[in-house]
Amino acid sequence: MSNQPQNTTPSRSNRAMVPRVDVLEDQTGITLLADLPGVSKDQLELKVDGDTLLIKGTVGALTQEGLEPTYAEVRLPLYRRSFTLSRELDTSRIEANLKNGVLNLRIPKQQHAQPRRIQVQVN
């Protein structure tokens, strides 16, 4: 009946790099910029699960035949980071743009209930 608890402990096989982000909020929503160098559009995964936003990106194959590493500062081929979003953000209208390894996410706030003009019928 109860769900299996999610495995949140990073094991050796699913270790990932934490991408650096800039988060800005203005009156209409939140802008999130994430550094994901090496990730192309088809290797980017964006998921909203309830109030959690998950950003996952796989670094495309950079190596070539017979390449021997000499020095590596980037050692994992995966970026992952998640955020909890608050209620007033409208997750159904998230816009995402990935260019030159920078993910630009725009999360607008819920539109306030628009005051509706009610037509009065006169028979």
């Binding site: 910029l33 160098p37 950079l62 390449l67 000499t70 980037v74």
Partner: protein
């Protein structure tokens, strides 16, 4: 009343502190020589360097830069990447709250010392998905040669 002036901690924290110091002595910054041009962890852009018998490959993880504005120079065996990344400008600066600003911005410069057999005439650079890939050919003498036995 006053914290102890003795520097050795006791108990559980003391053990961890001693372990940290011992690991630092073996693996830390002071243990073995580091490249004179090496940058500390978290430098921008991060670099991966590898080699094949025919080339040296340098990958610089530099998202969000303008490839026309990056200076890549190779001088006496030292490859230098220099440029600038503009900071994230808050659009409509009125009433903008900045919650996180982890992405590095500003001028950057990184240098890598290449082996002696690189050929400065054969350098190619490509920028894709935020990774600047620089490939430097190595001279013929670097290729392993099979010696036949008479």
């Amino acid at each position: 009343m006053y914290p102890s002036l003795q520097s050795h901690a006791s108990g559980v924290f003391g053990d961890f502190e001693r372990l940290r110091r011992e690991l630092d002595d073996v693996f830390g910054l002071g243990a073995s020589p580091t490249s004179i041009r090496s940058a500390g962890p978290g430098a921008f852009p991060a670099l991966n360097v590898g080699h094949t018998p025919a080339s040296v490959e340098v990958y610089a993880f530099a998202p969000g830069i303008d490839p026309d504005k990056v200076e890549v120079t190779l001088d006496r065996g030292v490859l230098t990447l220099a440029g600038e990344r503009p900071p994230t400008a808050p659009e409509g600066s009125d009433k903008v709250s900045v919650y996180a600003r982890e992405r590095l911005s500003g001028r950057f410069k990184r240098a890598v010392s290449l082996p002696d057999d690189v050929d400065p005439e054969r350098v190619q650079a490509r920028y894709q998905d935020g990774v600047l890939h620089i490939s430097i050919g190595r001279r013929e003498a670097a290729q392993p040669k099979r010696i036949t036995i008479q």
